[in-house]
Amino acid sequence: MKILVCISNVPDTTAKISFTPDNKAFNTAGVQFVINPYDEYALTRAIELKEAQGGTVTVINVGEADTEANIRKALAIGADNAIRVNAKPTDAFFVAQQIAHYAQEGAYDLILMGKESVDYNGFQVHGMVAEILGISAITPAVKLDVNGNTATLEREIEGGKEVISVVLPLVASCQQPMSEPRIPNMRGIMTARTKPLKVVEPVGAEAKTIFESYSLPEKKTGVKLIDPANAEELIRLLRNEAKVI
């Protein structure tokens, strides 16, 4: 089985979010970048499937050279090889065009990624890749098994779950409890250095959206503390002052 895992390079989830003085771009100063946590669930599930059934795991990232540290991390965790599409990811449409192009070239059975990235929260690339390739997409999947040429998934819906079987090839987006992310071990880190990382040029595609400017939410004015001995007072305030109950 050939599995392609799409990874996005995102600010660490503890990073303080700020923007450049003109509010046109994310301020990367002092920010550490990690593999998008939802993509890590996809990556570890792909590696588990490979370990159980054989096959290869390829990771793909659309990004400039500074994303290679996280691509190497994915290789250290257990992916076999990697593709970096050498371009700044401008929007989901652009990224999906790149992934679909190289996915088609590699004829993968399974294309996995996170349900969204924790930076732009798009929820878009999986469905777009599937539509371009003309194959099914199941999103968001919380469980994935493969038996022969059929995948069985659990898809989360508002207020429950669905069990779905689909014949491969397939795109699935992942969220917890899909898998338990792994920390690379020393042997993995050593072997990752020599695993193939192919850098390819982007295919022509125009973005369909422009991220024009950014802003931060308004700061809270300050917490109103209530004496724990008089906790009932809180309920009164929520009814009469905040008017939310």
């Binding site: 989901a92 469905g127 371009i132 999103t139 917890q176 959206t209 309920i235």
Partner: protein, 323 residues
């Protein structure tokens, strides 16, 4: 020309999030000087759909057959695309739900549209260009996104826009779409419903517990208060990771994002990843025995105290309100 709104229903009723998207769609249509048209897929009574006139829907198309009881991704995309063509839609409005985001991305490719998800405000319309404010960085910031294609698709974040209530009855029409076997791939074989609970993503009130509860044996304190307030329960990541509660209740940056009117956090310190999932809630209450817990900085109301003592008092007071 029109604005097409996908209306999601459950158990024959329009979902609250779709009352929001209908209201949003009606306001977009009004700003564009055109009409707002709803689309319902599945088995929903006509009189329930006529009520969408109150949210400004002039007309609602109903597409129903035996294969459409559940969400079938390919069939839904085909039906929405056909409806968009039928009503000559310039804008398609979806909820930022598991259904809305699943169909939105496919429609954007199929119809050559610009797509924005997680929208939190009405678009600024300038000729053929829309600018839409969306939530980014998991609730920690906003971005203004410009949509340049002729057709625009907007997925609206839950609880981000108000529901309009006005006089009106929507006209109901039938939409027939031929579905082939290939369109039904991905239909669920089995649906496991969480029963008897308020839906977390649509709840007005959410009561959430963290490690400060000390163990699953105290979880009933969260459930009791949630019940008294008519709300849903949620939990922090450590609680889901240690198996006290299912993962679908984990709110935070790597779980789900919610924006209720009232979020009560009991025994949760307020790590930045957790705040990301809840900080667009209208009012935040924090109960924690540690006065230095970072969550107090993001809270509107706080109680410094032991959750095991405070929660029962709140539950009693909430019950007293309902009497």
């Amino acid at each position: 020309m029109s604005v097409l709104v996908l209306i999601e229903c459950a158990d024959g009723q329009v979902r609250k999030s779709s009352l929001e998207t209908a209201s949003y769609g009606a306001q977009v249509a009004q700003a564009m000087g055109t009409e707002a048209v709803g689309l319902v897929i599945g088995d929903v009574p006509v009189d329930e759909l006529q009520l969408l006139g109150r949210q400004g829907m002039q007309k609602v198309y109903l597409c129903n057959n035996a294969n459409l009881k559940d969400f079938v991704p390919g069939a839904f995309v085909k039906i929405i695309a056909q409806a968009a063509q039928t009503v000559n839609a310039q804008v398609i409005i979806l909820a930022n739900s598991n259904i809305g985001t699943a169909v939105g991305s496919r429609l954007a490719i199929r119809l050559g549209a610009s797509l924005v998800t997680n929208a939190v405000a009405l678009p600024e319309i300038d000729g053929n260009t829309f600018k839409v404010k969306k939530s980014v960085f998991s609730g920690k910031a906003f971005a203004e996104v410009v949509l340049t294609a002729d057709l625009k698709i907007i997925a609206v974040k839950k609880n981000a826009v108000d529901i309009i209530e006005q006089e009106g009855t929507a006209e109901i029409a039938t939409l027939n779409v031929d579905l082939a076997a290939a369109d039904l791939i991905g239909a669920p074989q089995e649906t496991i419903r969480a029963t008897g609970e308020v839906l977390l993503t649509e709840a007005d009130v959410v009561v959430s517990g963290g490690r400060g509860l000390r163990g699953p044996e105290n979880w009933h304190l969260i459930e009791d208060l949630a019940k008294a307030l008519g709300g849903a329960t949620a939990c922090s990541k450590p609680v889901a990771d240690s198996g006290w509660r299912p993962h679908h209740e984990h709110v935070g940056q790597t779980g789900i994002t919610i924006s209720p009117n009232l979020y009560v956090a009991a025994g949760i310190s307020g790590a930045i990843q957790h705040l990301g999932g809840v900080n667009s809630s209208k009012v935040i209450v924090v109960i924690n025995k540690d006065p230095e817990a970072p969550f107090f900085k993001a809270a509107d109301y706080g109680i410094v105290g032991d959750v095991a003592e405070v929660l029962p008092k709140l539950t009693e007071a909430a019950k007293a309100l309902n009497r």
